[in-house]
Structure formats: structure tokens, C-alpha cells
Symmetry: C2
Subunit: 598 residues, 2 copies
């Protein structure tokens, strides 16, 4: 049977050839692990994803959560799937052995998670949101808060959400209006409305722990006045038993184009003035807490986009191999049999583009996960700092690039299936609808572009960028020892040189206070920067493919890698030069457009 979720050969290539996962077992934290334990975890993930998650992916789409008597009702298949995930320990994949965790590197846990993301984005979101909320509590909450809320989350009894967005403010968190008034007992009373809260209600767990952003009465204006609160659906008594229902009301459900298995809710906090919340960390530091967790969350979203692209790629590849239709253009004999459509050059193009997008982004996502491991498990403190610097810089790309280009991959998968691809009798249209969420949530493309150009690049005097450029130069240097990689290396070198110069120009403008002009075309910058990063990752993959070819086995696999690298570096990378020209010219076509002219 062909693989449906991801290619295990490609995963092994990433883990053991490109990213050297085995080297991680040299670090004290991962010393009890080995390639065998990594592979065992991956096999378990694949098995559970195939057995419990994939089979109800379509059913979850067709039967989105319903609002029944103030609660959200899910299809019955979700709970056994989530339970299997919990029982296998994946919720605590990265936690210490001593608290019952698997103590896996992020590189390996992300690879495990990828199977669930490919199998069923909707169901996967519930445990994923819980992991995010649990990590927040673990990092910033008091010992008592951890006892009451984190421990049952680790045990899989409580689930979690992130409650940030408000109806009037959208991405502009500075403008949230949810208020938290201190009560005499040291807790707070929250009042406000949140929307688009994924997993905001369900019956999968005993309790739901909402991580809510709100403002204290003495809050300074803007983003510096946001605090973080734990707001449970049910209050929790001091002995850990459940108390009464908190004043959190499910005001309604949103009905989405895709990703329908995950309920998206409107929540009202404190309609009756009785919504109890617990301040996490220091007052007014809520956004800082959120930001510290953002790298991980955004790797997760990026990988989710990759995996929807990956599932679509594999499905359309299999279809193209099975489906006979038409003849090659130089064959005019109508008596000759039809060929499998994979033989048509334009179908090859659509498959090759998908391969380039999803395997390029898959590599980047895992590379970022490995960087995340480095931020806390490399022995040398300076190396940890550098890893964090680079990860900070890359995060907008890790999140946004797959959201844009693996969605494009899904569009191509539909096209390969033709009319069939447009029907709900085949899975690719759902991948496309599901994936359309990724450029929106967890920071839109616009937000990511401003984060990159307006903030990340200049941090610490551009040290992250300098590090990235050194790494790319190193890859190019190693590639130069393989003469047949010259046509792949040169477009990347050309791009990175020009991008570097454009970057200095824009950072100069920003430093000189020309903010509006410098940020006006941030979307172009994000795209070019992303292509540069993915181009670099493809050149890395190509070097490892060259190495693999010398070993003599798996020749087809490595030749495919080289061809996809060639596609990306010669078809896609040079296409960025007009974007660079516009950036160089400080083009003001968009900025100068007036509202009245539309």
C-alpha cells in the first residue's frame, strides 16, 4: 500500500541524513534515546494516526461540531483518537521522564506529530492546543497553579485553549478590551468576549483551561498592558476536585470553510460578573509570555500546513500513477493505449512543484525543531543563545511559507485529479479547504511579514541575519565541491547577495525613521526571504542526495531529491528578482494607492 501521511523514506532522510538526529543522543537530556527509540515513537505515531485519526477525517468535515444546549457536540470518533494519542504519551513527548514524559527531542516529537497533522487536522488540534496551554503554565505559572491545572493537563484530564482574539480587534492585540478586576481573595474577575477560540468547548476532557489575555484596571495602554490569566471552564477546589461551572459562556460556534473538525467558538467571560481567573506571571507581562511560546506554536502551525500539503501530494502522486488518460504529444496513434497521467510533462510539473514545496517546507520545519532543541540542550551557552537568535529570525518563515506554498501544493493536487479532485468523494479538496486557515491563524501573513522586517531582522544588531547568511554561505561552499550542483547553487548565491543588500537598505530606512515606506512592501520581502531560506534548505538536501548517490543504493530517491531541488532553485528562486527590484526601488505603488481610487 502506498503511504498516505508522509514518506517514511523521506522522513529517515531528514532525521538521519540531513539533520543527524542521532547526534542528539550525545546530549545528556537525550542520552537514554537512540535511533531505535526514535523510530519506535515514530512507528507508534504512524500507527495511531492511521488507525484512529485518518479514518474520520472526512466524517469530521461533514459533521462539524454542533451547538447543543450551550455546549459543543463532536462526533464520537474524536475522543477515542485523542485518548489513543494521550495513552501513547504524545501529549508529554518532550517532558521529563520523571513526570511521565518521553523526553524526546523536538525534532523527533515534531516528526511524530506530523503524522497526526497529515491524518486529521481537525481532531489533532485538541491535544495540540492543550500542549500549548500546558507549556505556558509550565513556564510561567506558580507552583500552586501548576499543581491545580498543569498536572491534570499532563494526565490528559484537562484540555487547554488560547483565548486572544476579540471581535473588534482581530490581530491588533493592543486593543483588546477584556478586563480583569482583582478580587479580595487574590483571584480576578474577568469580563469580555473572545472569538475564534479553537477547542473552546467540547466534552473530551473533565475541564478546559483557557489561557486568556486581559487587561488589569491599572494597565498601561497598548501591548504593554496585557496580562495572562488561567480561566477554567469548571472551578477547581484546593484538593483538585472539580468545583462549580465558572462564568464562561459558549456564545456560539463559527462555521468554517474547512478545518471543521475543530470547533471554533465565541466565548463570553463574565456575563454574570462571576468569571474567576488566576493571574499567570507578572501583571502586564502577558504578551511577553505568549511571545516566548510563539516559536513552538508557530513551528506547529507551519508543520500543520506542510502536512496537509504532504497528504495532498502523496494522494495526487498515487492517483497520477494509477490513472491512464491520453497519450504523449508525439504519439498520434489513437489505437495506442492511454498512458498513466504521470507521464504527461505538465502533470510531472504539478507533482514536482508539490514535492518541492512540501519536502522543502518539511525540511525547514524539522530544522527549526532541531534549532529549538539546541536552544536548551546544547552544552555551550553561547551556542544556545545563537540557536535562539536564528530560530527567532526563522519563525515567521517557518509559519508563513508553508501556509502559502503548501496551500498552493493542495491547489495543484486538486488540478491533477481534475473533476474528481473538485468533488468531496476524494480527499484533496478537504486538504485545500483545511489548509486555507493556516495563512490566517497564529499571525496572518501580514503580521508575519511585519514581524520579520520590522522586528526580527534588526534584533541584536542583525546578528540572526548574519548567522543565517554565514550558514547559507557554508552550504554554498560545501555545494561547490559537487560540480553538478553549480546550476543549483548559483541562483541561490545570486538571490542571497541581492537580498542582503536590499535588507541593509530597508533596515537603514527603518533606522532613519522612514517606517511607512520601509514596511510598505513587507509581503514581497517575506516571500523573497522565504524563498531564500527554502532554497538554502533545498541545496542542503541536494548535497545530502549527492552523498547518498555515492553510496549506490536508493538511487531513485536521491535523483528525485536532486530534481526537486533543481525545480525549486531554477524555476522558483530566480522568479524573486522582480520582487527584489521593487524592494530596491522602494516602490510605492501600493502605499500610494488612495482609498477613494478603488
Amino acid at each position: 500500500m502506498s503511504e498516505q501521511l508522509l514518506s517514511s523514506r523521506n522522513l529517515a532522510f531528514e532525521l538521519y541524513e540531513v539533520l543527524d538526529a542521532e547526534a542528539l543522543t550525545q546530549r545528556p537530556r537525550f542520552a537514554e534515546h537512540s535511533r531505535e527509540t526514535f523510530d519506535a515513537a515514530l512507528t507508534t505515531a504512524r500507527t495511531i494516526a492511521e488507525k484512529y485519526f485518518a479514518p474520520h477525517n472526512r466524517k469530521g468535515d461533514e459533521n462539524e461540531p454542533r451547538y447543543v444546549d450551550g455546549s459543543a457536540e463532536l462526533i464520537p470518533e474524536v475522543k477515542p483518537a485523542v485518548d489513543a494519542f494521550l495513552e501513547a504519551g504524545f501529549l508529554n513527548a518532550n517532558r521529563d521522564f520523571e513526570v511521565g514524559g518521553m523526553q524526546l527531542p523536538s525534532l523527533v516529537s515534531q516528526a511524530c506529530f506530523a503524522h497526526f497533522q497529515a491524518a486529521n487536522a481537525g481532531t489533532t488540534a485538541y491535544p495540540f492546543l492543550t500542549m500549548g496551554a500546558a507549556n505556558l503554565i509550565e513556564s510561567f505559572a506558580s507552583v500552586e497553579q501548576q499543581r491545580l491545572f498543569l498536572q491534570p493537563m499532563i494526565e490528559g484530564r484537562y484540555f487547554g485553549t488560547m483565548a486572544l482574539t476579540e471581535p473588534h480587534a482581530g490581530s491588533s492585540l493592543a486593543d483588546i478590551r477584556t478586563r480583569a478586576e482583582p478580587a479580595s481573595d487574590g483571584t480576578y474577575r474577568l469580563k469580555g468576549n473572545k472569538i475564534f477560540i479553537s477547542g473552546g468547548d467540547h466534552e473530551l476532557s473533565e475541564n478546559i483551561v483557557h489561557m486568556v489575555l486581559a487587561k488589569l484596571p491599572d494597565a498601561p495602554p497598548g501591548v504593554k498592558g496585557i496580562s495572562l490569566f488561567i480561566v477554567p471552564k469548571y472551578l477547581v477546589n484546593a484538593d483538585g476536585s472539580l468545583g462549580p461551572r465558572n462564568d464562561v459562556l459558549l456564545a456560539g460556534l463559527f462555521h468554517k470553510m474547512g478545518w471543521r473538525g475543530t470547533t471554533s467558538t465565541a466565548l463570553n467571560f463574565g456575563d454574570n460578573g462571576q468569571c474567576v481567573g488566576y493571574l499567570v506571571g507578572q501583571p502586564h507581562q502577558g504578551l511577553a509570555c505568549m511571545f516566548q511560546m510563539m516559536n513552538e506554536a508557530r513551528i506547529g502551525v507551519g508543520m500543520g500546513a506542510v502536512m496537509l500539503g504532504y497528504a495532498g501530494y502523496l494522494y495526487s502522486l498515487d492517483y497520477a500513477r494509477q490513472r491512464p488518460q491520453g497519450r504523449l504529444p508525439d504519439n498520434k496513434d489513437p489505437h495506442s493505449p492511454a498512458v498513466p497521467i504521470i507521464e504527461h510533462s505538465d502533470v510531472k510539473r504539478m507533482l514536482l512543484a508539490q514535492k518541492a514545496y512540501v519536502e522543502g517546507a518539511f525540511d525547514l520545519g524539522l530544522y527549526a525543531a532541531r534549532l529549538f532543541d539546541d536552544t536548551h540542550t546544547v552544552a555551550d551557552a553561547e551556542a544556545r543563545r545563537q540557536a535562539l537568535e536564528l530560530l527567532d529570525l526563522l519563525t515567521p518563515i517557518v509559519k508563513s511559507w508553508p501556509s502559502a506554498f503548501c496551500l498552493k501544493a493542495n491547489e495543484l493536487a486538486i488540478q491533477i485529479l481534475g473533476g474528481h479532485g473538485y468533488t468531496r468523494e476524494y480527499p484533496v479538496e478537504q486538504y485545500y479547504r483545511d489548509n486555507r486557515l493556516n495563512p490566517i491563524h497564529e499571525g496572518t501573513e501580514g503580521i508575519q511579514s511585519l514581524d520579520l522586517l520590522g522586528r526580527k531582522l534588526a534584533q541584536n544588531n542583525g546578528a540572526g541575519l548574519k548567522q543565517l547568511i554565514r550558514l547559507i554561505a557554508g552550504t554554498c561552499e560545501r555545494a561547490s565541491h559537487h560540480p553538478n550542483l553549480d546550476p543549483l547553487r548559483q541562483p541561490l548565491e545570486h538571490l542571497v547577495n541581492r537580498l542582503q543588500s536590499v535588507t541593509l537598505t530597508l533596515l537603514g530606512d527603518l533606522a532613519a525613521g522612514k517606517v511607512a515606506g520601509a514596511l510598505a512592501n513587507s509581503a514581497l520581502y517575506l516571500k523573497v526571504f522565504g524563498h531564500c531560506v527554502i532554497g538554502w534548505r533545498w541545496l542542503e538536501q541536494a548535497i545530502h542526495a549527492e552523498v547518498g548517490l555515492l553510496k549506490g543504493s536508493d538511487r531513485d530517491f536521491y535523483l528525485g531529491k536532486l530534481q526537486a531541488a533543481r525545480y525549486f532553485l531554477t524555476w522558483e528562486v530566480p522568479g524573486c528578482h522582480n520582487d527584489l527590484a521593487l524592494l530596491e526601488a522602494r516602490d510605492d505603488t501600493c502605499l500610494a494607492m488612495q482609498e477613494g481610487w478603488f
Copy 2:
């Protein structure tokens, strides 16, 4: 109230400034028309589209046709809408006055139809399919067939379909297996299965006339052995009364991602050996008949893609004007009020791109409709022939370019609305789902690219291409009298020169029998050719905007046109040069990819 379907100011610009619709009234066929009669028809179309079509667009999506007792059951709102369309005479918009038609130019009727396409793609398909089938019968069927089938179609009593696609063959019509055996009475007995037949069953009309492609027993193999048949759902007696049900079975319905209001059916012809069909035209000439009607059908599909893009553009524009969120990047005062998001440069970019795509493609669609008028109403026979030559060449672009780029426009409309855009509480996600069909049906993008590069370009020694290049040169010459159009004109000239040379190279390869290599990257060629054509149309619009500006009124409208032209010609057109470089180099990245390497 803001306009929802299309901008009437832009429509007037197209009809009366760019395309000079009034000049058509000089032609004998349209002599009784005037700007007033044109505008009256347009107002009627808009009124009916707003009153009967738009209100149930979402309902049709949420309640797709159901299979009930062997029939397709539609929501009740469809019939009154279609009836209003029929009663207003739009089904016969182009037919002679003497048969009850409106005798409108296609330029004006397409502009009328555009309102329905923007309001409700699903419901609009039923009368549109009927028009297509009626035109086929009118052009190729016998007098008796016209009496029995065309006349009730003109009266709106019978509807029509096009039944081409078969399960195993898809786009490869050469391989259809439906057979037509001659019966002793001069009729035929058909046997075969068709899929994706839009409007293949419903209760909107007394009868449904299927135009079916099938093969006679003595058919030569391939596309030269295809014949065209009338196969009615109910047999028709000689006096025009309905006879018994024909042996056409509704085998099932397809469930699509979008465009759900139009039922997509699987039809079985002749399961009981009793399916009566009537040969239309000469044996084995069916595909030729279809091809002669294809220009019109493909203009219709292209315009449908445009109008979904247009509706999404207008909705997101209105939203961006109303929605306050965030502050401009050079404003750091959190006390200042939020600005409407249309003031953010990246939102302007997404609106400007939409405007460039939809208004560029709208212009091209109407230009093609005017060319279609020229093919049969210009006095000079040579001019008629030339108009057909150009229209033949442009048809793949008219169909495919809006299908690709107005879908992209819909993607941007969702992004502007953010999380809201992703919900079914707002209309833009439906436009996106509906529009995703357009790159697939009526010839996929791949089919269009082969039609353009492998067939249309070389026709009549490249005369169509030469004509197009002369027209573009003429536009550039006129543009050169407006110095501030220089930055818009130059990228187009650069593109068209290089495209011309690439075309000669590829045609040379084709002539030399290097077919596989020449056609390998036809998708790139289609995109670049399309950008060249749309760039030309934007330069035309820019010239008319310059002229308009001199008149002094409507300044904002014309400045918006110039800015959109600038966007397309400086942001999008120069982006084609890497595609051209790949075509010039006869790049074989895709062609050389092997199935085993994936």
C-alpha cells in the same frame, strides 16, 4: 449602498470608453439599438440578479441538489430566478428580433450575463447550459430537429446540457466509449456512461435536451470518429407533445467543493437498450461542431471566473473600508484610534492585486465578446475572418487566465477578512470554492496550454499571433504619446519582444518534430502569454484613463485605473522573465523527471 455584483462605473468605462459599444449600433444588425437600449438591458439584468439570484446564493451552497427517487431535487428558489431570467428574454439575448430575441451584441449580452454570474454561479449555470445547447442545435441541427428541440428551448420550456466526459477518459475525448447504433427509423440507440454532466437532471423545465458525444459503429479511431447527438430526457412526438421517458438514467450526483447549486450528474444512456438519439450534423463531425461553439462557451467560463473574482473584490473592498483595526506603522500612540484596514499598505496591495486581476480579466472578456460580434457583424469579410483568427488565438487565455488569477483574487479577499473570511458567515469563502472549478471544467489549464501552444499559434501560418502583436504595438504607440505611461509601456514592450522570439523558437521546434520538448513547459507559456495579453489590455485601459483625466471629471476613478495598470505592469508583468528564460533554454526539469524518482 455599495455595489455587490460589479462596478457600474467600470462597466460604463469598458462599454463606452474602452470598447466603444455605441459604434456597434452603426451595424445593420444592431441598428435599432442605442446606448439607451443597452443600458436598459443592463439595468434589467442587474435588477433580476440582485432580486432573484443573489439572495439564495448561500442557500444553494448549503443545500446542494439531492438525489430523490431517481431525480435531482433543487431548492425552490432556483426556479423563480431562472423564470425571471427567461421572462426578461436573456436566454435569447443574441437571437433575432423576429424569433423573439433581443438581438443584442455579445458585448452587451455578456455584460448582462456578468451580473448573474456574480450573483449566483450555481443557479446561473442552468440557463447558460441551455444557451450553449440551443446554439449547437441552431448551428448544426436539421430544420425538423430545430422545430422539435430548439423552439421549445427558445421558449424556455426545454433546458439543455453538454454530455462529453466519460469516467475512464476525462479530458481525452478521443477515447470516449459511448456508442450510437443506427436504428431502422433513422434514429440511433445510444449506450454509455457520462459523468460531471452539469444540469443533467432537475425539474426546472418540461424536458432536458442532452447534447451527447458518441461513436458510430463505423467510426474511425480517435477524435475524428466522434459524432454529436440530441438525446432528450423525454421523447418528443411529431406534434411537439412530450412522449415517454427516454432511456436516460440519473445514476448519481457528484458532491462538489463549491458551485454546489448546479447539480453535477452521472448519466447512464441506454442501460435498457432503449436510449433514442438523433444525429446532429454529419457523422464523425461531432467534435468539430463542439469546437465551433467553444469560443463562446469559453468566454462564458472565463467571464464566470472573472465575476466570482469581482464579487469577492467588491466585498473585501467594502469590508476594508468599514473595518477599523490597528494603526499605521509610524504611529506608536496606543491611545490613537484604530484606522480602517484599507489604510494599511499590505491591505492596499491585496485590494490592488484583486482590482488588477478582475478588472483586467473583465476587460479581456468583454473585448473577446466584441471580437465575437465582429466575426459575424463586421461588413468586410476579411475583417470578419481576422476577428475570428484573433478570437481563436485569445480563447485559451480568455478561459484560463481568469480561472487562475481571479481565483487568486478570491484567495486575497479571504485574507483581507481574516478569520471572518474563513467562515461561512461571510460570502468570500464560497466565491473561492465556487471559482476553484473554473481551472478544471471546459478544458483544464493543461488542455488550454496545449491548445494555445500546440495548435492555435501555428494556425494559418501564425496570422493570429501576428495580428495580436500588431495590435499590441499599436497600443504601445498610442501610449507613447502619454509620457507618464512610459513606465507602464516599457515592461510590456520588453515582454512582448521576448515572448515573440520564444514563440518562434518553440514553433520551430514543433515544425521540426521536437514535439515533446516544445510542449513540455506549455503551462509556463500559457501564463506568460496571458500576462502579455492582460498587460496589453491594462495599457489600453490606462490610455483611456489618461483621456478621461483630461476631461476633468471622475478623477478618482481614472487615477485608480492608472494605479491598477501600474500594479499589473510593474509588479506582475516583469515577473514573467524567469519563465521566459526557462522557455528559451528549453528547460527539461519537468520533462526529465521520472516516475520512479517521486
